[in-house]
Amino acid sequence: MSQFTINLLFVGASFALYFGIAIWARAGSTKEFYVAGGGVHPVMNGMATAADWMSAASFISMAGLIAAGGYANSTFLMGWTGGYVLLAMLLAPYLRKFGKFTVPDFIGDRFYSRTARLVAVACLIIASVTYVIGQMTGAGVAFSRFLEVENNTGLMIAAVVVFFYAVLGGMKGITYTQVAQYCVLIVAYTIPAVFISLQLTDTFIPAIGLFSEHTQSGMPLLAKLDEVVRELGFRDYTADVDNKLNMVLFTLSLMIGTAGLPHVIIRFFTVPKVADARWSAGWALVFIALLYLTAPAVASMARLNLMTTIYPEGPTSESIEYAERPDWIKTWEQTGLIKYEDKNNDGRVQFYNDTPSFNDEATARGWAGNELTVNRDILVLANPEIANLPSWVIGLIAAGGLAAALSTAAGLLLAISSAVSHDLIKGSINPDITEKGELLAARISMFVAIIVATYLGMNPPGFAAQVVALAFGIAAASIFPALMMGIFSKRVNSKGAVAGMLAGLISTLVYIFTYLGWFFIPETNMLANTPDNWLFGVSPLSFGALGAVINFTVAFTVSNMTEDVPEEIQELVESVRYPKGAGGAVDH
């Protein structure tokens, strides 16, 4: 059986499973659809949240970025888990107590203003669309590989599949489908990692293998990796970074963005009790950590395997001949995500870091430049092939990658469409819209969102995980501060909140667009996106944390200069703080 058939079998079987569960669960009760997670045990809810949360960015893209950046990209690991601490302590229990269903609902009520609600809707839509661009980038990579087509064709196919998947939206709300998706995703991620960890370190658990001995050389794995990449002019894998300010801000952006993304928060609105909201956050983090503790092992081992494939005799000896390259390089070349150019016409594949400091050594070895370009987003998907694992493992990772990308993309499209049809049109522009009209508006906005995301996904402003990181920056600068101030301060009023959200959102967008192009349209950036151009060395990916600081500052300043918060809103704030009944006044 060819690899292509096996991939189709695995992907087909996993989809049949999701649809099957969806039909089975829906037959049980339609109520389940609306109260996703209601009455479901916190462990199950945590698993479903983890499936919702882990997207193409976590599954497909993240380990590739860590492999390329080494220690410097640990930011993704800390940032995308540390946000749950904030969520569990600063938002989830209180929003659960508040008891409405969407983020704009809370902001609109707490800041007693339709404008605040509208601004929240705008922030939500901008962050979600950016997020979908990242998902499309990842899904495009996955589809192009498994259907063995060129990358942009893969992206188009992904767009069509995601659109239909989202229109069948019911599946999204059903907790058990998401539990199944989580299982497929985590098994698909872990099995190849276990195989590779056994090959390289004789250790069964990849997370431990990362810090174990490399069997072949007898050195610690990370020391071996450092040595290999150093020989080829790359920075040491474990090397410390110089720009710590940027590293801190980037991690912070991801953390507060996690706690400000509407599709994550919403899961905590629907658990039965405030106490359960706290436990659910913990369980979600446990299930996320299963992947996140494995990811750094996948990253380092894949990097080492990649280097060993190109330099079978070690980095100081000759590299492989292009004519004898392994099959996985050939298949990925079809997608255009691996490129080879024989610059010195020796028929071999020179893969090294083409920097001035390595120039002398490269020239001495007769090299005329780096000849192999490997897109970072392919690493996780190519990983089983690089390690020569059996074809069923490759099929499995295809199914896992698609589960991750499709579930999150569809969820975000649903969030966008409900924000447009429910919050924007019905809530403000035309309250008398018919139910049919609302549904039509939802479908149209979904369609527009996917067209925009696909167009921008063809020339994405970065690798999948980086684009997703931009979405986090936007959420961090706009939504998180408003929610937090809404709970922890009785002084911030509607004017303050609106001014704060706008200041945070606009400053962050302007900073991002300056370096990455207006509305991410290629070639429209005003400054090249290089560290020398960044303000105080802060990258556009990291600016969200500063945007949040701006948001808080503006909100407090404006609030202090304007009127007090009305009495009944202060009571609302009181009431969300205590799990029992309503706060003082309303209770009696």
Binding site: V85, F211, D240, K273
Partner: protein, 86 residues
């Protein structure tokens, strides 16, 4: 009525104190050990690299899990202590 409010106020203060403590640990394991203080931990070796690298790639995540469960457990018992549980 005023006792009732006083009780709620104490509950909220205890909650904020607890959050504050947890967030200090949260910042210490990630921004501290994982990033800014890494040079200080450079001599503590673990699996071919230093402790700061471990905190950045795994240690912080494990600490976050412990923190969230600790907070949930502590708060749920505070709810009972103050008679504010659902």
């Amino acid at each position: 009525m005023s006792d009732h409010t006083q009780n709620q106020e104490n509950y909220w203060k205890a909650n904020v104190r607890l959050i504050f403590g947890c967030l200090i640990v949260w910042a210490l394991v990630s921004y501290g050990f994982g990033i800014l203080l890494r040079p200080l931990l450079a001599n503590i070796e673990i699996g071919g690299t230093d402790l700061g690298f471990w905190f950045a790639q795994q240690g912080s995540i494990i600490s976050f899990i412990i923190l969230v469960f600790f907070y949930a457990w502590r708060m749920n018992s505070l709810d009972k202590e103050f008679g504010l549980e659902e």
